[in-house]
């Protein structure tokens, strides 16, 4: 529990639980005192004998609503706080973890939904259970004073409705959700196929099949849901029976033991009402399964090991012009063969190094290792002699960062999307970065305060790339890393962008990953990365005069440009 409820909230939670219990107790008190008053009045005692009960009826009637109101306010306040705290802690746990993008958009949104589970757990499961427990216990204790045998009957009935029944519904719902989840996922996948793949389906005349598959998935889900409805139906039946038979049994016991009409009426009506907070627990049990599964998923997420091990005592951040020396670097993703296997190179201050090579050769992995978003198995990355893994990874990224793969566009204005890379930047700085990234015309046309939509849909692939470049230029790190800056740009723009980029980075320490060779005459060193190894290195002139990947690619490109 302590992991769910943030510090300082226990008191609020207790207040909510007390108010909820008080509301239900007032309900119990109302019916008990009313029953007592009426049956006692029928015995025609002096009026004074009833006065306490009359006061009780009025007091309970008034306080019930007030308690209920306080419970709902306190409960929602706690729930909102708990949800906010859960999200914050989940986010903080995710910061050091690896990339999330491969988890898929749907999984991510489910994760966000999961953070609602804490709210559900508190407001719909925990608080009602506490109130039911308190009310049930109070009713049993009162019954104990009036007629112990009746108290045991009531206890038995309450245990059936408030403990066994919720346990049963929880178990049944666990079984059912195991069957429903794949059916739901299947339907979601079919719907996603129909919607996201509509162009492919239309072009290939395959709509009919996909539609049939979607409908079949829906039919299957509907059939399961129909059968699942029997769980709550049976729970309802059992609950009503437990309540009714308990009341009948209590009246019968009273009759057998010759209990007077006053005590009998109080016992019967109080028992009837004692079930009211208890019966909804069956539904809470049903819900609990989903809530617990969500909480388990969140806990799993929180225990995902961080992508890189942070040093216990981070080293001093080096300053001055930076020399990056990479020696014998080995990076492995999981148990696969190394993505980088013994890579060595040096990036001197003011020098520019380009990395070329086929996709999957390890170019982006190299960049991730430099940015400390993946750990390296062996070898060294030193920054002015300081080992990168001895520095806090945040500090490393303050020194080396730039344009990464899969840049993200936030649901915010264009300006805010830029500004995250330079919170203190002036408008002139922003304008400069945008101009250098060749995004100025677009920005002026679209407007700086235009909100960029979900997934940045208002941006084309090329514009997205340029926004990412503008961010990198605005951040202006001591060592600029650029991962395929011309990716997804048309040839002309790519050419002019690369030209400008090489101009703009003149004299600054830059590592450029690219698949286009034009303009690389200007860089100081080119590394050819194939299969995790550097197979060739040198200047453009040296590489075009040697046989190998670089020359082959250069010739192919040159031929096409002639």
């Amino acid at each position: 529990m302590s992991t769910l409820i943030p510090p300082g909230m226990t008191r609020r939670l207790v207040v909510a639980a007390l108010a909820g219990s008080a509301a239900d107790l007032a309900g119990l008190g109302l019916i008990a005192s009313a029953a007592w008053m009426i049956t006692r009045a029928a015995e025609q005692p002096p009026l004074a004998a009833l006065s306490v009960a009359i006061v009780g009826v009025r007091a309970f009637a008034t306080s019930r609503g007030v308690f209920r109101y306080s419970e709902r306010l306190a409960g929602h306040d706690v729930a909102l706080r708990a949800q906010a705290a859960t999200r914050e802690r989940l986010y903080e746990a995710l910061i050091p973890s690896g990339p999330l993008s491969h988890r898929g958009a749907d999984l991510l949104s489910r994760m966000v939904d999961d953070t609602d589970a804490v709210q559900d757990l508190l407001v719909r499961c925990l608080l009602p259970a506490v109130a039911a427990l308190v009310t049930g216990a109070a009713a049993v204790v009162i019954a104990l004073f009036l007629l112990p045998a009746a108290a045991f009957a009531l206890l038995a009935g309450l245990v059936v409705a408030g403990v066994l029944l919720p346990l049963g519904t929880a178990a049944a719902s666990r079984r059912w959700s195991a069957r429903l989840a794949p059916a739901r996922a299947d339907l979601a996948a079919r719907v996603a196929d129909l919607v996201h793949g509509s162009a492919d389906l239309a072009a290939y005349g395959a709509k009919g099949e996909a539609l049939a598959a979607g409908m079949a998935a829906d039919d299957q889900l509907a059939a399961l849901e129909r059968r699942q409805a029997r769980v709550s139906a049976t729970a309802m039946l059992t609950g009503v029976l437990a309540q009714g038979l308990t009341v009948v049994a209590i009246v019968w016991i009273c009759e057998l033991s010759g209990t007077g009409p006053v005590a009998t009426a109080v016992l019967a009506l109080m028992s009837l009402v004692a079930f009211e907070p208890v019966l909804p627990l069956a539904g809470a049990g049903e819900r609990l399964t989903g809530v617990l599964a969500a909480l388990r998923r969140l806990a799993d997420l929180r225990t995902v090991p961080p992508a890189v091990t942070e040093p216990a005592k981070p080293a001093q951040v080096p300053d001055g012009p930076l020399t990056i020396a990479v020696t014998g670097l080995v990076v492995r993703h999981g148990t696969r063969p190394p993505a980088l296997d013994g890579v060595s190179f040096t990036l001197a201050p003011g020098h520019r190094v380009a990395v070329v090579g086929p996709s999957g050769a390890g170019k982006s992995t190299l960049l991730s290792a430099l940015m400390r978003t993946v750990d390296y198995e062996s070898g060294n990355i030193t920054i002015n002699g300081v080992e990168a893994r001895d520095l806090a990874s945040d500090d490393v990224r303050r020194l080396m960062t730039g344009l990464t793969q899969d840049p993200y566009v936030f649901q915010a204005s264009f300006k805010d999307n830029l500004r995250l890379a330079g919170p203190e930047a002036s408008d002139a700085d922003l304008a400069n970065a945008v101009r250098s990234a060749h995004l100025d015309q677009w920005a002026d046309r679209t407007g700086w305060d235009t909100p960029l939509g979900e997934d940045g849909r208002t941006l084309s692939g090329g514009q997205l790339q340029r926004l990412a470049l503008a961010r990198a230029l605005l951040f202006d790190p001591p060592v600029l890393l650029l991962d395929e800056p011309a990716e997804a740009l048309d040839e002309r723009t790519a050419d002019s962008l690369m030209t400008d980029l090489l101009d703009a980075t003149h004299g600054r320490t830059t590592l450029l990953i690219t698949h286009r060779l034009r303009g690389l005459e200007a860089v100081d060193e080119i590394l050819v990365l194939e299969d995790g190894h550097i197979t060739q290195r040198g200047t453009h002139e040296a590489l075009v005069s040697t046989n190998g990947y670089y020359r082959t690619l250069w010739q192919a490109e040159a031929m096409l440009h002639s």
């Binding site: 009313a34 009426i38 049956t39 029928a42 009026l47 009359i54 008034t62 019930r64 609503g65 209920r68 109101y69 709902r72 706080r81 906010a84 999200r87 986010y91 903080e92 995710l94 999330l100 939904d113 953070t115 719907v191 996603a192 196929d193 129909l194 996201h196 793949g197 509509s198 162009a199 389906l201 239309a202 072009a203 290939y204 099949e209 979607g214 409908m215 829906d218 849901e225 129909r226 409805a229 709550s232 139906a233 309802m236 009503v240 029976l241 009714g244 009948v248 009246v251 009426a265 978003t373 945040d394 990224r397 990464t404 936030f410 514009q463 951040f475 048309d490 040839e491 723009t493 096409l560």
Partner: protein, 544 residues
């Protein structure tokens, strides 16, 4: 909308559900009668047996109600989902509202459950049971009946009053809640970018602040909104006190008998209960109504009849655009402006130009995904608007910019829409340079691709999509949208060779960014801002 929804409900199940709910509600009267009788000593202990039976019957009716409600709900959802799915297919693939559609058709419709299984039955009970209780009270004890009759309307009146004053605020608050979730999701998705610029930790405090602001605003609203439930609770419990105390006093004076008094005590709350139950279910139910509204709005939208009946003349056709203008709804600038163009049979045309110049729109035009707002497209001399689109598309092979991979086997993904035999699929894959990596997959061609084909790289996905085109050897017109966009040099040259072979003897329109692709064409058309600015024919086979 309610009428639309009502019309879609499966009548029989709904009738059973509501009927059971009403009868079970009325049985409470019998239950009160018997219990009051036994407790007052008017009935003997033997009356406990029928009382137990009444409880049993109520339980059984509850069971029937639940099962029938479940059937109603799943029936309605299924019906709506089928209609929505069918409807999606009529929308143009060029429209982008996929996220909304997927959510609505998936979890969105589940919001109907509380409406159908909780709210509707409670409305039925609220319409019948309080009236029955009142009638019984009038017969039993006039004074009580009058008190209940006078206080009962306070519940709907107060409910409506408070509801009206807080409705707008509450709705704004719930929307803010949804936005809050959206903000959190957005930040989580963008975490790698935030990390790259050292803003990840800072955002944690933003999340906290946004949530804190949201909470205090919400609590302000709830303090008022929950007043409604306070009032309703007070009306119900104070009425009970209002009934019980005079009854007790009249018992004291002997002007009322115990049996009636107990009956009144048991029945009075039952008059209020159904109305309050209906009120508490209202909020959750309204979410379902919103979902249904969205669904019916989509179903009710006019979709222009896009397909004609004519067939274009056989053989590789000539494609002619006559001053075609294309406008997308909600955009100021036209995507294409008065474009006139003749693409001869067997010609290979490269479309070049900056992103947003209209290249993809031109392809979508030929596919019939968008219709010209002015001008016309002629295929072999026949207006595309008059053509049977399905028949026309069967003559095309199309590779989109971001091909979708379906949650199906690789083979089915390649075969898409054609009955190609496994051998044909293999050949197509080989020609698209996909065979090697497909065979390396765990189950080869039978490997099922995950969420949006996530377990393939961008280049591999592109090659699967190319294999689709190769799997239609009879296609006469080839439409390719940047087929090598995300490929490295060597894969690009491999795909290029295949594309060259694929284009042979066919009309090909290729959106090209990379020089190698342009080289494959014998005519290059440059688009800028929706118009053709350059159109030159080059010697067949390019410049090599």
């Amino acid at each position: 909308m309610h009428r639309d929804l009502m019309r879609s409900l499966p009548r029989r199940h709904l009738a059973v559900c509501l009927g059971a709910a009403i009868v079970a509600g009325l049985l409470v009267l019998v239950q009160a009668e018997l219990l009051a009788g036994v407790l007052s000593g008017r009935f003997t202990v033997a009356a406990l047996l029928p009382l137990a039976l009444v409880f049993g019957l109520r339980g059984a009716l509850g069971w029937v109600q639940c099962v029938a409600a479940g059937r109603t709900a799943s029936g309605v959802k299924s019906l709506l989902r089928h209609r929505l799915l069918a409807r999606f297919q009529e929308f143009s693939p060029a429209e982008h509202r996929s996220g909304e559609l997927v959510t609505l058709t998936g979890r969105g419709l589940d919001a109907l459950d509380p409406y159908l299984t909780g709210y509707l039955p409670s409305v039925a009970v609220a319409a019948v049971v309080p009236v029955a209780v009142l009638i019984r009270l009038f017969v039993a004890d006039l004074a009580t009946a009058i008190i209940v009759l006078l206080t009962l309307p306070l519940i709907p009146i107060f409910g409506a009053l408070v509801g009206m004053t807080t409705k707008a605020v509450t709705e704004r608050q719930w929307r803010a809640l949804a936005r809050l979730g959206g903000h959190f999701l957005d930040v989580v998705r963008g975490l790698p970018t935030l990390r790259a610029f050292g803003r990840a930790r800072y955002q944690a405090s933003v999340i906290r602040e946004v949530a804190g602001r949201h909470r205090s605003a919400t609590m302000r609203t709830l303090r008022v909104a929950f007043l409604s439930s306070l009032v309703l609770e007070l009306v119900a419990s104070l009425s009970l006190a209002l009934v019980a105390v005079p009854v007790g006093l009249r018992l004291l004076s002997g002007s009322l008998d115990l049996s009636t008094a107990l009956l009144v005590l048991l029945l009075a709350p039952e008059a209020y209960l159904p109305l309050r139950a209906m009120g508490t279910r209202f909020h959750a139910a309204m979410e379902g109504v919103t979902a249904a509204d969205q669904a019916f709005a989509l179903l009710g939208e006019d979709v222009p009849e896009r397909s004609g009946r004519l067939t274009a003349p056989g053989g590789v056709p000539e494609i002619r655009l006559e001053s075609v203008t294309v406008r997308y709804p909600g955009r100021e600038d036209a995507a294409l402006t008065e474009v006139s163009l003749v693409i001869g049979a067997g010609e290979r045309v490269a479309l070049v130009g900056e992103s947003g110049a209209g290249k993809s729109t031109l392809l979508h035009l030929l596919l019939g995904f968008v219709t010209p707002s002015a001008g016309r497209v002629l295929i072999g001399g026949v207006d595309l608007a008059e053509l049977d689109l399905d028949a026309w598309r069967r003559r095309l092979a199309f590779v989109p910019q971001r091909p979708h991979l379906f949650a199906a086997s690789v083979a089915d993904n390649i075969r898409l829409g054609s009955p190609a035999a496994p051998a044909q699929v293999r050949t197509a894959a080989a020609e698209a340079q996909a065979a090697e990596f497909v065979e390396a997959l765990p189950d080869g061609y039978d490997t099922v691709l995950g969420e949006r084909g996530a377990n393939l790289s961008a280049g591999q996905r592109q090659r699967v999509a190319l294999a689709r085109a190769f799997c239609r050897p009879d296609a006469e017109v080839l439409l390719l949208d940047e087929p090598t966009a995300r490929l490295d040099g060597r894969s690009e040259s491999a795909v290029l060779d295949s594309t060259r072979r694929l284009a042979e003897g066919r009309t090909a329109v290729i959106v090209a960014h990379r020089p190698a692709m342009i080289d494959l064409a014998d005519r290059v058309i440059r688009l800028t801002g929706g118009t053709i600015v350059e159109d030159h024919v080059r010697p067949v086979g390019g410049t090599r």
